[in-house]
């Protein structure tokens, strides 16, 4: 296999113990992901669902009335 030319930034760097080639410095941002709903968001969701149901019921009652 013919390896293509190495990446320019991949110069061997001194590792923690001074002996080894550490990976090149080429940073990339990794934003923290949201995995949990914030406390109370279930309450908010349930509240909005109830509000919607209530509104729906009121509309139906008006139609029926």
């Amino acid at each position: 296999m013919t390896f293509q030319s190495r990446i320019p930034s991949a110069q061997p760097m001194t590792g923690e113990d001074g002996l080894v080639a550490a990976p090149p410095h080429a940073p990339l941002q990794m934003p923290r992901q949201t995995l949990q709903r914030s406390p109370g968001s279930f309450g908010l969701w349930a509240g909005s669902l109830l509000a919607r149901l209530g509104a729906l019921l009121r509309v139906n009652q008006r139609r029926a009335g």
Binding site: T2, R6, E16, D17, L28, Q36, F42
Partner: protein
């Protein structure tokens, strides 16, 4: 997502129909089993215990039926059409990431040498670098790692394309290890092949993975199906055989349903580095371990996060040349399972994460349910024992002025039918895989039809024997996690030799005790059930013996796999390099 990829031509192969078929079939089987059980229990009047047991039967049957449906789907779905691959020169740069944590350095670094040689032999120009990311805590092992790395670089002429670094603090464990690498060095590469310390991949397979990810700009992660290699013990060989013989059907079924939210098993996969960086920054979960803190089973979460960000996560079950090693005895299996148990149960906290695809949530739910199912079985058994004294004797003279006995309806056929049905769900997929292997000629790789069938039946018998022991370990793990005990992060023991009797006794005596108590309780409270429960209590009584015996070397030819007949090229390469390194190291030590 900011860099939303283009169209997703491959993975979106109408998985909705496959999912619907599997879900409807498994739910129908579960509800039918629950109804049959309820009519059986209702023969003498419906009690609350009957309702509880019916509910438990529905849940556990659904889980069995879901597995059976996945296998049947895999058997019914022929090999997927060839995936699109980029056929021109490969433009992207790839890094092979090997996270290590107190692993055997000689074994790990010789694997890298073998894969590097295999890449050269593949004869396809591509830039593929290697990065060994050490989280090793043991200073002696760490020192050996740096020595092995120096030897690796010298031997493979790896200057500028082989890297090593060790973290001073292993924050975030394996996921944190990879994250630190991506945030420090990730921009230098387009793709990363993530391996485990015991992974081996053919160079041609790695090149094919690069070509496939390069061909599909929407593909964020491509998972292969690793084959277990190098098993020596009875337990290891049985697991290796089951994985080689049955897993392809299950994997194909899984692939048929995956859509663009396929699985990630943590290794033997390629990822698009920018997609990973953009989507997979894992937060710490609120609260203390085991449910809070670092995410332990990070792979499943990373897969669902990639899918949430719009990337495709795909399992290509047609990719061969991907290998891993497995536990050699029940104790190592249980130790690994303890970690997976905690990791999967922890996912309960993120089931409701905002924006996840429905199928991703279902995948997380499956992971949780896999650990709840054995507990459900155990509760069902306990409820069945408790139901006997509650039932009492039947009333043969229910009518006041009628002097002849009235016999209750005989519901035995229903009970037997239900037991046969449930047993069928367990066994039928495996037997169908045998038939498929015989008719397609795949059985020849396993020594022919007769030998395949013998091996399948032996594996069935053996797994039935150690299933109650594994059930006990899983139940203990679940109880430990639920009661708030953190299992920590023990390193894998991949080279365990046979266990001694004393080790097996120490590790398994509590299972013997539980089995004896269960047997005594059943004999006292519900003697009619004693014989029925022997398949569970018997192996529990013999747990230390089973643990010890199954850790012994298997007989030659027992549980044959294709790798016995044709040793994979990469394995042969690794064996040769490992032998050379080990020999020369010994010679140096002697000198």
């Amino acid at each position: 997502m900011t860099a939303r990829p283009g169209s997703a031509p491959v993975a979106e192969q109408r998985p909705a129909a496959a999912r619907a078929v599997a879900l409807v079939a498994s739910l129908t089987a579960a509800i039918a089993a629950g109804m049959v059980f309820l009519t059986y229990g209702a023969a003498d009047g419906v009690s609350s215990l009957d309702i509880l047991r019916s509910a438990l039967i529905i849940l556990s049957t659904w889980w069995l039926a879901w597995g059976a449906a996945t296998a049947l789907l895999g058997l019914a779905t022929r090999r997927a059409p060839a995936m699109p691959r980029h056929s021109g020169p490969i433009r992207g740069k790839t890094v092979v990431i090997v996270p290590v944590y107190n692993e055997d350095p000689v074994a790990t670094f010789t694997r890298i040498a073998a894969m590097d040689d295999s890449l050269r032999a593949a004869g396809d120009p591509a830039q593929v670098d290697f990065a060994i990311l050490s989280d090793t805590r043991d200073p002696g092992v760490a020192e050996a790692e740096t020595r092995c790395f120096a030897r690796l670089v010298a031997q493979q002429h790896g200057e500028g394309r082989m890297f090593y670094r060790r973290r001073s603090a292993n924050t975030g464990r394996k996921a944190g290890n990879i994250e630190e690498f991506i945030t420090t060095s990730g921009a230098a590469w387009d793709y990363a092949i993530i391996l485990d310390a015991d992974s081996l991949m053919e160079g041609a397979t790695m090149i094919e993975m690069i070509r496939r990810i390069e061909a599909d700009p929407s593909l964020g992660l491509l998972q292969t199906l690793p084959r277990v290699i190098r098993a020596r013990s009875i337990f290891g060989r049985a697991m290796q055989f089951a994985a080689a013989f049955h897993s392809p059907a299950f994997a194909r079924g899984l692939a048929a349903m995956q859509g663009r939210s396929g699985p990630f098993w943590g290794h033997n996969a390629i990822v698009r580095v920018r997609a990973w960086a953009q989507s997979c920054g894992l937060p710490e979960l609120s609260g203390p371990p085991p449910f809070g803190g670092h995410i332990l089973s990070h792979d499943s979460v990373e897969a669902v996060l990639l899918a949430r960000a719009g990337w495709t996560v795909r399992l290509d079950d047609d990719l061969t040349g991907s290998y891993e090693e497995g536990p050699e005895n029940i104790l190592d299996h249980a130790k690994r399972d303890r970690r997976w148990c905690q990791g999967n149960l922890q996912h309960a906290k993120i089931l409701a994460a905002p924006g996840l695809l429905g199928w991703s949530r279902f995948a997380l739910f499956q992971g949780i349910f896999a650990y709840l199912a054995p507990v459900i079985w155990l509760v069902f058994i306990a409820a069945s024992i408790a139901a006997i004294p509650a039932t009492g004797q039947p009333d043969y003279f229910p009518l006041e002025h009628w002097r002849f006995p009235v016999f209750p309806n005989d519901e035995t056929p229903k009970a037997i039918g239900l037991a046969v049905g449930i047993f069928g769900l367990l066994v039928m997929p495996k037997l169908l895989v045998v038939l498929d292997a015989i008719f397609t000629g795949r059985a020849r790789q396993f020594g022919g039809a007769g030998q395949s069938l013998r091996a399948v039946l032996s594996e069935l018998a053996l797994s039935s024997l150690f299933a109650p022991v594994l059930l006990a370990f899983t139940t203990r793990s679940v109880l430990q996690v639920v009661s708030g005990r953190d299992g920590g992060w023990p390193s894998n023991n991949r080279d365990a030799s046979g266990l001694t009797w004393a080790e097996s006794w120490r590790a398994g005596r509590w299972i013997t005790l539980c089995g004896a108590l269960g047997l005594a309780l059943t004999h006292t409270v519900a003697p009619n059930l004693t014989l029925w429960l022997l398949p569970v209590t018997g192996p529990m009584l013999l747990a230390p013996l089973l643990i010890c015996w199954t850790s012994r070397p298997a007989k030659p030819g027992q549980f044959p796999v294709p790798a016995d007949r044709h040793r994979p090229e990469i394995v042969a390469r690794h064996d040769a390099i490992l032998d050379h390194w080990t020999r020369t190291t010994r010679e140096r030590q002697v000198a």
